[in-house]
Subunit: 250 residues, 2 copies
């Protein structure tokens, strides 16, 4: 059992809270076997970033939000870890954007789908959020992928023009980009294939990104898509930040 | 279920094999809740090191082995992840060194202790290894630590002069150093408190280190403790290696 500090100002509070959320999600059968290992990898990169939203990540977040706001058919794709770490906050974001969420998991089993849909539906009711939850009945396939991981919903991910996919794997990110979509990803490893391939990469921790997006929307700020935004520069900035961290703490 | 490539030359073979071993250990109740997250953190640092034993890590491994060979009372301390990832190989090492192993876990429960001792005993019998497995009946305490994590065995860890502790946490490493022991650690994060405090830090993946140690001993090489060895230099070299990796892959 993860011990959470009672005091939110405790330096490890956020990190321990995220672990606690994953533990709860595990008990509910929401996670794949590789979920905790993937989270640990994220923790290591976040440590190297100083566990903060660095300026380039904040700029990427604004750019991503601008794409979502100007989209014809935005969709938020959710996997097990995303639901576990920030399910409520992601539903708030979808509610503010007026877009659906679609559960789209790599290791798809009926039990996991049911656990994830059940959990999100409960959050939606508890917080009176007006969000459509897609994914239970896939009726389309992402071209170029094999097996159940290609499954998606026609009027959801398949027809979306702008897609927020936190924590996506490289193959699926590539296949979604090949469909001509604007793909917005959250990935703490600036060298991952997903990070390198996406339209906009937020090198930041998921719950911080979603918190930042919700705060911007609540403040009535409506960012515009910047023509000057270069994803490579954003990734390079994250790499430089990690290198500086490794140098300063020598 | 983790899929393991049938072909050991597959680039992800070792990494997937380690995940598979953890999954098996999880099923047997050998792991704490935080074990998979900790492994994921290790995976991220290993990726940044190029998933290889870098020269400074090999030098640290020789130095650690030299300390074990020249010790009066060497002991290998094992936690859940160490047993899961390289239980058999660690017993082979203890057999070659003629030293006991002691199970010493951070989150101690009777069920986990029983699962770990059962698994090690089975391996010992299967491979006809002559190794004493300590830990079931702690009769001493590591000064400066609170609660069950201070428990240890008098004629094991407590009386040891040289201690190999793969994957140790910072507090316990500090307490063991304060007892005046030579503490040899395996830690993929060169910035961790454990890595920074130990007598010899091998910034390398556990199963690779144990494999390297066993190969050296089988080759009849008997390394001598080097007076020139500087642990800070070894850590600095690992940091430089990661920085080079981040620069080359920009």
């Amino acid at each position: 059992m993860v011990e959470i500090a009672a005091d939110p100002t405790h330096p490890r509070y956020q990190s321990l809270l995220m672990r606690h959320r994953l533990e709860e999600a595990e008990k509910k059968g929401m996670l794949a076997g590789s979920a905790l290992i993937a989270h640990g990898r994220g923790e290591a990169y976040d440590y190297l970033l100083g566990e903060q939203s660095i300026p380039s990540a904040k700029a990427a977040t604004k750019q991503a939000l601008a794409h979502l706001l100007s989209a014809h058919h935005p969709v938020i794709s959710l996997n097990g870890n995303a639901v576990a770490l920030a399910g409520k906050e992601l539903l708030h974001l979808a509610d503010q954007l007026g877009c659906p969420v679609e559960i789209n998991i790599f290791y798809r089993t009926p039990e996991r789908m049911e656990a994830l849909i059940g959990h999100l539906t409960q959050l939606k009711v508890e917080h009176s959020l007006d969000v459509e939850i897609l994914g239970a009945e896939p009726d389309a396939r992402i071209p170029g992928l094999e097996g159940p991981r290609a499954n998606c919903v026609k009027r959801g991910i398949f027809d979306s023009d702008v897609l927020l996919v936190p924590l996506e794997d490289g193959d699926r990110c590539e296949a979604l980009m090949a469909m001509g979509k604007t793909v917005l990803v959250i990935d703490l490893n600036p060298l991952s294939r997903t990070a390198q391939m996406a339209s906009v990469t937020m090198v930041d921790e998921l719950s911080r990104v979603v918190g930042n997006m919700n705060r911007i929307l609540l403040s009535k700020e409506r960012p515009k898509v910047s023509e000057e935004y270069l994803n490579e520069s954003s990734l390079q900035d994250a790499l430089n930040h990690i290198k500086d961290f490794l140098t300063k703490t020598d």
